[in-house]
Symmetry: C2
Subunit: 130 residues, 2 copies
DNA sequence: TGTAATGATACCATATTAGTATCATTTGTC
DNA sequence: GACAAATGATACTAATATGGTATCATTACA
C-alpha cells in the first residue's frame, strides 16, 4: 500500500526547489538537480500549471514559478492533482446486497480515519518542507 | 487514491459475517449473503486462512471460522494480508541526488502521517464492526 | 526570423488489482 | 469403500493504474 505515488513525490520536490530558488526555473534545471526523467518532469510541471499551482512562461528564459506563496500550497492539493480524490474506498457491495445499507459501520469507521488523514495532509505545506 | 482495496473490503465483510454467525460458515453461504463472485471469495478466504486469521475445515459440512476472538482481529492486519506493508512511499530519488540525504524533511513529515494512520488502523477490530 | 522554452496529445511499458479456471486433497455419510 | 461436498493449490486472464516516451504545435525573447 502506497499513499504517495512517484509523480506526487517528484512534484513536491520540484515545488520545494522552485520555492527555494524564488525565481523562474526551467525544466532543465529541475531535471539536473532532481535526476527525474525530462519528459516525465515536463508532464508533471504542466499538470501543476493546469492545476493553478504553477505559472509558466514560454519562450527563451521561460520556465515555471509558484503561483502562490509556498505556505499556501498543501500536500493535500498535490496529491489530488496526481492521485485523484483522496478516499479510503467506496462500498464495493451492490447497494441492495450490503447487509446494513445506510448504516454500515465499516464505512463509518473508514470515513472517520479518512477524515483524519485528510486533516493531516491539509496541514503540510510546501513552506514547511523547504 | 484508495486506501482500501476490494479484496480487503470483502475480507472484512466476510469476517464480520463469520463473527456474527459464531459457527462454521461455508463459501456458498458467504457468496449468497455478500454477492461476491464465488472464486474470488474462495481465494480471499484461503488467504485469510494462510494468514492465520481463519481456520478451515474440509469435507462435507466444512467451511471457515475465526481463529481468534473478533476483538483481536484488526483492520491493520487484514490490509497487510491483501495490500502488503502499509507505507506512504519510499524515497524515489536516487540516494546521491536527493538534496538533503538523511535529513529529508519531506520523508519525515510523511512518516509521521503514516505512523498516525497505522495507529488508527490498529485500533479498529472486527468486533467493533459487527 | 531563429531558437529556446512550454503546451497538448497520443502513445507505450510495467505493475497492480480483480477475477477465473482447474485439478488435487480431505472428510463426512451412506 | 465409494461418492459427494467441501477446501487447497496454482496458474492463468482481464482491466486499470502507474510510470514513463515521443512528437508536433505554440509562444516569445534576442
Amino acid at each position: 500500500m502506497k499513499l504517495i505515488t512517484r509523480n506526487t513525490d517528484y512534484a513536491l520536490r520540484a515545488l520545494c526547489y522552485i520555492a527555494k530558488r524564488k525565481n523562474i526555473v526551467a525544466v532543465d534545471e529541475l531535471v539536473k538537480k532532481l535526476g527525474v526523467p525530462r519528459p516525465f518532469m515536463r508532464k508533471i510541471l504542466q499538470q501543476l500549471n493546469k492545476a493553478g499551482i504553477l505559472v509558466s512562461y514560454k519562450g527563451q528564459g521561460g520556465g515555471f514559478r509558484l503561483k502562490v506563496n509556498p505556505e499556501k500550497i498543501y500536500l493535500f492539493q498535490i496529491m489530488r492533482v496526481f492521485q485523484g480524490k483522496v478516499g479510503l474506498s467506496g462500498c464495493f457491495l451492490k447497494k441492495d446486497i450490503c447487509p446494513n445499507k445506510g448504516e454500515c459501520v465499516l464505512r463509518k469507521k473508514i470515513h472517520s480515519i479518512e477524515a483524519d488523514v485528510l486533516r493531516q495532509l491539509k496541514r503540510v505545506n510546501i513552506a514547511s518542507l523547504v
